[in-house]
């Protein structure tokens, strides 16, 4: 059976083109890969190659023809023993003919069109809802240790490294220097330089190396000296770590933790003070954790290291030295994805996380003095976000204030506001109000820096405003 050569598309959007030139004539021998014609559109020209071996039987569309529809037969190629008469036969019922391609050619453009504009009835399926497990019970009589957050993080890593030989730590100054912020103190001594690895100053590169190692089955903890420097690595975090499981149809996952201090420290100016909570928590495929207390820091980091997905673990330099009680349990793991109600109240819900909690908790104390009972929620995890806990609280209080150090536009507070509006609109007695970092690069001068960050007074004021007080 003679084989038809069809008018090809240069791109999925091309519908027709001009047949500008035939480079072979009827009767010429052609083999796979020979250029037989040139076609062009207003955007480009393209060479048509023969995909089969044989004789060019009949040219169906002469050169110089404009607006030839994609998938129109333009020529026939004859195999051994076939003649021009066969070519005529092949050309007759053009659209129905069996070409070397098996889809009916004439149907293809419509099919492509249909694909680009799906039937209106087709809706995306419901997004799955996630509900996280509750925190583990702490048996009564459990001894509590008062340790710093820095120590809690270190203990979490050390325990997980003892438990699983595939876990290792890499980053700048994590080994011999004992950590730029001393979070990895003592790990080199216990685990050696095979598992506690000082990297060159090369964030993009070592993030990629970490992701590659994770794809090969290891469980890296990649420390960024601060998340400000991770902007150099964000392509590997998002394009490689977060998306590969999906793009591989579930074959190739990536169990990796990216951790380090995030947000504003003190007097280090704009390039070293950014809060990336909103950036990372937008990305499907990532989990984002940002603890405030020492116990959460330990329990959540252990969960993050065990998680089979990439986890962004946002710490805060201003919290490293803060102490808190951590239960002395062999294996204290807090499930990712559950917010904690830190303080119960009935008048207004204050929502924050990480260092934002310092303003929020102090504000709750102030508000109590004025008889306003604030409920304080520590999100702890930013993705997946514990909508359930937030909505339940807002339905109870009818008012909400979000507190974050990051910028307001497209911030976490904006997302919280939207979710509260979507799920608890009828319960609201006042608009949701956001307290946030100001819309400026972080200034260096002490007084300006203070103004750029949220304050206890701003939280108190916002809470009173939504309570109409």
């Amino acid at each position: 059976m003679p084989i038809q050569v069809l008018m090809p598309a240069l791109s999925p959007t091309m519908e027709k083109g001009n047949l500008s030139k035939w480079l072979k004539k009827e009767g010429d021998q052609v083999k796979s890969g020979d250029v037989i014609a040139e076609i062009e559109t207003d955007k480009a020209t393209m060479e048509v190659e023969a995909a089969d071996e044989g004789t060019l039987g009949k040219i169906l569309i002469p050169e110089g023809t404009n607006d030839v529809a994609v998938n129109t037969p333009i020529a026939t190629i004859l195999g051994d023993g076939e003649t021009a008469a066969d070519a005529d036969k092949a050309a007759e019922p053009a659209a129905q003919n069996k070409s070397s391609q098996s889809a009916p050619p004439a149907a293809a453009p419509e099919a492509a069109e249909a694909k680009s504009a799906p039937a209106p009835a087709q809706h995306a399926p419901e997004a799955p809802t996630v509900s996280a497990a509750a925190d583990p019970d702490i048996p009564s009589g459990t001894e509590m240790a008062t340790i710093t957050i820095r120590e809690a993080l270190r203990d979490a890593m050390a325990e997980e490294m003892r438990r699983d030989p595939d876990v290792f730590v890499m980053g700048e100054e994590v080994a011999e220097y004992q950590g730029a912020y001393k979070v990895t103190q003592g790990l080199l001594q216990e685990f050696g330089d095979r598992r506690v690895i000082d990297t060159p100053i090369t964030e993009h590169g070592f993030a990629g190396v970490g992701v590659g190692a994770a794809m090969a089955g290891l469980k890296p903890i990649v420390e960024f000296m601060t998340f400000n420097f991770a902007m150099q690595a964000i392509d590997q975090i998002i394009n490689s770590a977060a998306k590969t499981l999906y793009m591989s149809g579930g074959q190739l996952g990536c169990s990796i933790v990216f951790r380090g201090p995030n947000g504003a420290a003190a007097r280090v100016a704009a390039q070293h003070s950014q809060d990336y909570s909103a950036w990372y928590s937008q990305i499907p495929g990532l989990k984002v954790v940002a603890p405030y207390s020492a116990a959460d820091a330990k329990g959540l980091l252990k969960a993050a290291i065990r998680d089979p997905n990439p986890v962004i673990f946002l710490e805060h330099e201003m919290l490293y030295g803060q102490s808190g009680e951590v239960p002395k349990l062999d294996d204290y793991v807090i499930p990712i994805g559950k917010a904690r109600i830190v303080r119960e109240g009935s008048d207004v819900t204050l929502i924050s996380w990480s260092h934002g909690m310092t303003y929020t908790l102090k504000a709750a104390d102030e508000l109590a003095k004025d008889g306003i009972k604030a409920e304080v929620i520590d999100l702890r995890t930013l993705r997946p976000l514990d909508t359930e806990t937030i909505i339940a609280s807002v339905k109870k209080t009818g008012r909400a204030v979000t507190v974050e150090e990051g910028w307001q536009q497209n911030g976490v507070g904006a997302e919280l506001s939207a979710r509260i509006m979507e799920h608890a609109f009828d319960y609201l007695d006042a608009p949701v109000t956001r307290v946030s970092g100001k819309d400026v690069p972080m200034p260096y001068a002490a007084n300006l820096e203070k103004l750029a960050l949220p304050s206890v007074a701003e939280v108190v004021e916002a809470a009173k405003a939504v309570c109409y007080r």
């Binding site: 069809l6 598309a9 890969g33 393209m46 060479e47 889809a103 190396v209 190692a213």
Partner: protein, 344 residues
């Protein structure tokens, strides 16, 4: 920017016209010649079919064909052993077939169907097979170099003697993370071979217009990484260079760079107008240095006949046609797959 005009891209492997066998290339056995011929032909026919399906609108988005470069992956694969890993960029169909992945699964991914290697969620540039130790298929130029270095890191961490091949092009060679990776790979003596497929054009920009150092085998010099230029159109030369580099890595000596001097016959992607090079340039490489034609001539000079080779071609065409058929009739992914595989 006005740079001094350099001469046109230099001839690749100038002295090797028509498959003449230079004395320094170790010969293949007949079995090796036949194996390489079949593998390269499978890739060529597969890519020709993919080009056709793209022209018909059955394949969407971007589609980068490997035609002309077949000897690189086929020769390198012959130098590997079970367990060694492969990672590459977006021009990945040939690598997958060379790794032993099924034509059906690759073609069905190109058409976005559920039987594709990524269940239709990845497309041309994003396919993987853990079973065949193929780690993708990556769409961000240069990203696979750091990732491949990380896979080699895992090999060294485990001490399992495996070697990772990280393929990238002359274009990706100018990305910063490539050099960050070179530094760490040599510092930590990681078993990774950087295979630079120099096909002379980064999309439409020739190496002379984009690269200050056009000898890519020297790109590791400041990190003390040894490198070699290889005639990437001669599958035997590729295999020999691969053997040497693999032995270097396997012995714990750290990374190795192989610059494969090759050529892509087709455009960068299907919608490439190809105004940046002449038809004569393409035809010259095609007529004088085609990797498959070289092997064909050697096979005919042995005791193989045209009919023997035609029957191999027929067998390969059958596989490819079946894959095209499968790829057009396999259903699209079920809508319920929208939300799967985001998290484990």
């Amino acid at each position: 920017m006005a740079a001094p005009k350099k001469s046109a891209a230099k001839e690749i492997a100038q002295d090797k016209a028509g498959g003449a066998s230079p004395s320094n290339v170790p010969p293949f056995t007949k079995e090796q010649e036949l194996g390489a011929f079949r593998e390269m032909l499978l890739i060529r026919r597969f890519e020709e079919k993919a080009g056709q399906l793209y022209g018909m609108g059955a394949i969407g988005g971007f589609c980068h064909l490997y035609i002309g470069q077949e000897a690189v992956v086929v020769g390198m694969q012959m130098a590997l052993r079970d367990g060694d890993q492969v990672i590459t960029g977006y021009r990945d169909h040939g690598h997958m077939l060379a790794c032993g992945m099924e034509a059906n699964g690759v073609m069905a991914e190109l058409t976005g169907r559920r039987g594709g290697y990524s269940k239709g969620k990845g497309g041309s540039m994003h396919m993987f097979s853990l079973e065949k130790n193929f780690f993708g298929g990556h769409g961000i130029v240069g990203a696979q170099v750091s990732l491949g270095t990380g896979i080699a890191f895992a090999n060294r961490y485990r001490g399992d003697g495996r070697v990772c091949l990280a393929y990238f092009g002359d274009g990706a060679s100018n990305q910063g993370q490539v050099y960050e990776s070179f530094n760490m790979a040599e510092l930590w003596k990681l078993p990774v071979i950087y295979v630079i497929e120099n096909n002379r054009y980064a999309m439409g920009t020739s190496v002379t217009r984009s690269s200050a150092q056009t000898d890519f085998s020297k790109r590791g010099v400041s990190f003390n990484i040894p490198g070699e230029q290889v005639d990437g159109m001669d599958v035997r030369a590729v295999k020999a260079a691969g053997d040497k580099a693999v032995a270097h890595c396997r012995a714990g000596n750290g990374p190795f760079i192989l610059e494969m001097q090759t050529y892509r016959y087709r455009g960068h992607s299907m919608s490439d107008p190809a105004k940046y090079r002449s038809r004569e340039e393409v035809d010259k490489v095609r007529n004088d240095q085609d990797p498959i034609e070289q092997v064909r001539k050697r096979l005919l000079a042995l005791d193989m006949t045209e009919d023997d080779l035609k029957s191999i071609d027929a067998e390969v065409r059958k596989i490819v046609n079946e894959s095209a058929d499968f790829a057009q009739h396999d259903p699209e992914p079920d809508p319920s797959e929208l939300y799967t595989d985001v998290y484990r």
